[in-house]
Amino acid sequence: MMARGVRTIVRLGVVLSGLTALSGGSVMAQSLAIASSAPVTSIDPHYHTFGPNASLHHHIYEPLIQRDAPGNLKPGLATSWKLRDDKTWEFKLRNVTYHNGEKFTAEDVAYSLDRVPKVKNSPASFQIYTRAVVAVEIVDPQTILLKTATPYPLLPQDISQIFIIPRSLGAEPATEDFNNGKNAIGTGAYRFVSYRPGEKIELERNDTYWGEKPHWKTVNYRIISNDGARTASLLAGDVGIIEFVPPVDIPNLRKDSRVSLSEVVSNRSIFLWLDHSREGPTPFVTGPNGEILEKNPLKDRRVRLALSIAINRQAIVDRVMENTAIPTGQYLRPGAPTYVPDLKPQLYDPERAKKLLAEAGFPKGLRISLHGPNDRYVNDAKIIQAVGQMWQRIGVQTTVEGLPWSNFVARAGKQEFSAFLLGWGVSSGEGTNPLRAQIATWNPQRGLGTANRGRYSNPAVDTLIDQAMATMDDGAREKIVQQAMRMAMEDVPVVQLHLQKNIWATRKGLSYEARVDEETLAMGVKPTK
């Protein structure tokens, strides 16, 4: 009785699934459903500097300079750019039209740059990318000059973050009018169709697009933030591609014949900050018996190095990260511009670590509380637990505390912790970005060391950073940046752990060109064959 019932249900299931397959089949060839992992907060391309937004916006709008999958700059709405003199950049513009048929000209570039600081209530403004430009000069409709106050070699990287919108949108177009589609006009490969916050964005191919014609006529860009649900919707065939594949599912997906994976090492490194801000006792480090130490032991390079070489990075990558990361000794991925080839991940050597601790005056070890977020990075809470156990082995008694990001980030910003886990994604793809934000001495007046939460300070490195920022020649600058990075990393300001891999899973028969910048673009999803 029971068995027959089950069989009937299964048979019914087969029949129904046959029906759904038939109905979906004809549409499938032309439409693609993407499962994105985080909600898009706005269709306004100048409202919020936020990865998931940029990923969607690249379908609709275009910047002057684009990035290819490995993260190198390539022409976008600008066909070429060059330095006229140390403070003037010349951009030659492409002759293309917007979705509404208007022509794209230099006026639109000036208009977009001008709008960025005027966007109201932006929680994370794009001003940080336009601030270097002090004057804009339109030479002709196809040529524009951008001027900076001082020589600024990173202007192309910054400009690649700014999407261009038509000036016909008028003075101060409202963010809400982008969300309802009225202002969602760009030059990109897809046109905006509809936006349902927290649910999905529908896009339609722009058949007059200047570049390579994308394969998919319509794109359903869905938001599925729950990890398990994202994987399940791929397995069920409801979506063609998912981003941020959860590491726990990867071993099974590799074996699954319905699915293929594509991956690339990213420029997002995970590391531990150590407290450099205090000369005296640091709140979460004490002697082996809990006694308060007069001096902050983390100011001693030998202690920092001991904590670094006590960590078996390969074990973390293999066991905790399920091989979705590679061990690292610096912020950038191998092969990225300004990557330092001879700066290897620290080798695991617990014996030497113990010796270093003894030399530094702690033969009986230390007590440390290691903090970290538990909802921010891939397996963040598990990573600090693993590190805690490894430190334990060299005599550093470690307690581990994972906190929600909303609480953690506020406290980390006030230097409340002694050792804590953070990550940094290098958006510019080259070394001056982490050097200026993370390693440079904290200096609000000059806007340096903005993410230097450990308050590391090394005047020799600072000098090199300044020198690099004044060097307009790419080759010469690369050498200085590499020298600065090597000097800094050898001093162990942070304990580098690993670089995450960006992983996508597609249905069999589709392929995705894995991108370093974590973006999921319908243009990159292609049928194999």
Binding site: T49, N121, G198, K200, A229, W405, S406, A410
Partner: protein, 324 residues
């Protein structure tokens, strides 16, 4: 009756005020939304500028004062994250949650009451025992796990139902609803079932307990002795009398199903309010948190009011006015 309702509304007002104060203080203690939302590359001056623009540099009492002032002018504030009015944001997500919660509560009544009745009338039968055993599972299995199992079974292995999302919608009263389209109903079935499992078990157990308690009563015996059909005895005399606790629980559960459907909503990527409020709490989007909780407080108060009124209909002994 009228004075009683007015008194209730007056109480509600104080609950709302207390709640907003708690949210303001609570969010302030946890951290600063700008730290979470701001681009990691923004410098110190940019951070200070944004904090000032959002008014977060003001002392807390001043921020609260501005908020109250805005509310009195009919403005509930704008989301820090979406830059849309908080009420509009919640309103756009509400239909999805409402239809899911109402369906789930309907499921719990349609399954819970008959099953409970059966288990109460035939407590020693195999089926009766199986129903009771099954209800324990309904209570104790975590709903995110059940949700994923449903997806794995019906969407991945059998392929009969869509795994996630809301599907096609159709407009009624200018609002998009899923239950008006076949595709929407297919999308809604699993999340609604998932959401209702706990409530089915709850209603089932309450019904059974009520039936067991009522059956030996004199008036039931009398009704039987009068020669009424078993059908009439059960449907009119038993069922009507055990409905008071069931109505209370269904009412309260409707409220909490609407307010806290978040687990089901995230497993099924259902774009409802629960998902919105959790995301908002994670980024400390205070205007949305406050507006949402104010709405939920009002919702609970309204439901309680309705439940109390239904009491008086079900049981004439219940009076709303307390004698002074």
């Amino acid at each position: 009756m009228l004075t009683w309702i007015v008194r209730r509304l007056f109480q509600a007002f104080f609950v709302v005020v207390a709640m907003t104060v708690i949210v303001f203080v609570g969010v302030h203690v946890i951290g600063n939304p700008v730290d979470i939302l701001i681009s990691p590359e923004a410098d110190q001056a940019e951070r200070a500028r944004i904090i000032a623009e959002m008014g977060l540099d003001q002392p807390l009492w001043k921020q609260y004062f501005f908020f109250v002032n805005d509310v009195l002018h009919g403005n509930m504030g704008r989301s820090f994250v979406f830059n849309e009015p908080a009420l509009k944001l919640i309103g756009s997500r509400m239909p999805a949650t409402l239809e899911l919660a109402v369906t789930a509560v309907l499921f719990s009544i349609c399954f819970g009451v008959p099953l409970g009745l059966y288990a109460g009338l035939k407590p020693d039968s195999v089926a009766g025992r199986a129903i009771m055993a099954g209800s324990i599972l309904g209570f104790s299995l975590p709903s995110f796990w059940v949700g994923l199992m449903l997806i794995m079974t019906f969407a991945v292995h059998l392929g009969v139902l869509p795994s996630t999302g809301r599907g096609e919608t159709a407009a009624m009263f200018g609002i998009q609803w899923s239950f008006l389209t076949w595709d929407g109903l297919r999308h809604m079935f699993m999340p609604a079932l998932n959401l209702s499992l706990f409530n089915i078990s709850l209603v089932l157990r309450l019904t059974r307990a009520g039936v067991r308690e009522t059956l030996p009563m004199d008036y039931i015996k009398f009704a039987r002795a009068k020669g009424l059909t078993p059908r009439r005895v059960i449907l009119v005399h038993v069922l009507k009398n055990i409905m008071i606790p069931v109505v209370t629980v269904v009412g309260l559960e409707l409220g909490s199903t609407i307010a806290f459907a978040v687990v089901t909503e995230s497993v099924f990527a259902w774009p409802g309010m629960g998902k919105l409020i959790i995301d908002s709490i994670n980024v400390l989007d205070r205007p949305v948190i406050v507006a949402y909780l104010m709405m939920i407080v009002l919702l609970f108060i309204t439901i309680n009011l309705v439940v109390d009124i239904i009491y008086t209909i079900l049981d004439p002994r219940v009076r709303l006015e307390t004698k002074a």
